[in-house]
Symmetry: C2
DNA sequence: CGATTTTGCTTGATTAATGAAAGGAGTTAA
DNA sequence: TTAACTCCTTTCATTAATCAAGCAAAATCG
């Protein structure tokens, strides 16, 4: 399915997805055309899901990075899910997980005040346990 | 510092970082050249940290997505840190966090066997609590 | 086995994007 | 008022992407 060249392409695109097909081709010893064809195949097969950027959230004002474990009391999760949908400016990821918690929210906030507001709203629907990310 | 156009540019590049500057310019009502200049500025200021791809890890064979809470018994974290360094094929992120745990590992594994091996090695250095990601 | 199709690449021509230079409009400050 | 600066546009030369053949090795199949 995937050969060594494909893995190299994935690695290089992970490092810099705006590289030209010509340059990428030089790295994997192919022409730009052949490289573009391989990349198109990786897109079609779903291995490459998209092209995006790494953003420095702190420079955008989101200085708090939090992990919030969610423990739902009721089996009816809808109110919680629609709450975080309404707050998606702050939600980076929402993982449904096994273990002590039902969900793990990865969030970003511009201040403790906003974090507090978020938690006040959150506590109307679920119990939670808050962890602050100190370092990545 | 950042105006509305910059935020639009960031949003569009998040959705598709391989868009041409010309097309991106059309979306934000600027010429390709002016857009490229703004993007270069966002790079220089560190707001845009890099360009990357979204990869379907399952299609690469990593079918298990795990969150592992780490509780260190000793204050000497070095053995743990060098262990996960040696296992970085499986480690997506390592967050140092506040709360019950000291670290939160986000990992991927191709099978339960490999996960088990990882945990056997891990348990030589720290205590852990395993959560499996069911859905994102 | 041998003919045909498919796959994966290269080359070459065309089209589109990028980069550099020049210049104009608006802002700030001496 | 003038000078310096910012941010944009236009133009043009350069470079890359795309499209269409063409070719050879590998796979498929009667």
């Amino acid at each position: 399915m995937l050969d060594h060249t494909d893995l190299l392409i994935i690695e290089e695109l992970s490092k810099n997805s705006r590289i030209t097909m010509k340059e990428l081709g030089e790295k994997v010893h192919l022409t730009g055309q052949a490289t573009a064809a391989r990349v198109a195949k990786l897109e079609d097969s779903g291995v490459i899901e998209g092209y995006t950027i790494k953003i420095n959230q702190e420079k955008l004002g989101y200085v708090i990075h939090a992990m919030i474990n969610i423990i739902t009391q009721s089996t009816y999760h809808e109110p919680f899910l629609s709450y975080i949908q309404s707050q998606k400016e702050y939600v980076i990821n929402n993982y449904k997980i096994s273990g002590d918690s039902c969900y793990l929210l990865e969030c970003k906030f511009p201040s403790n005040e906003v974090l507090d507001e978020f938690l006040v709203g959150l506590s109307k629907h679920v119990n939670y346990k808050l962890s602050i990310v100190i370092k990545k």
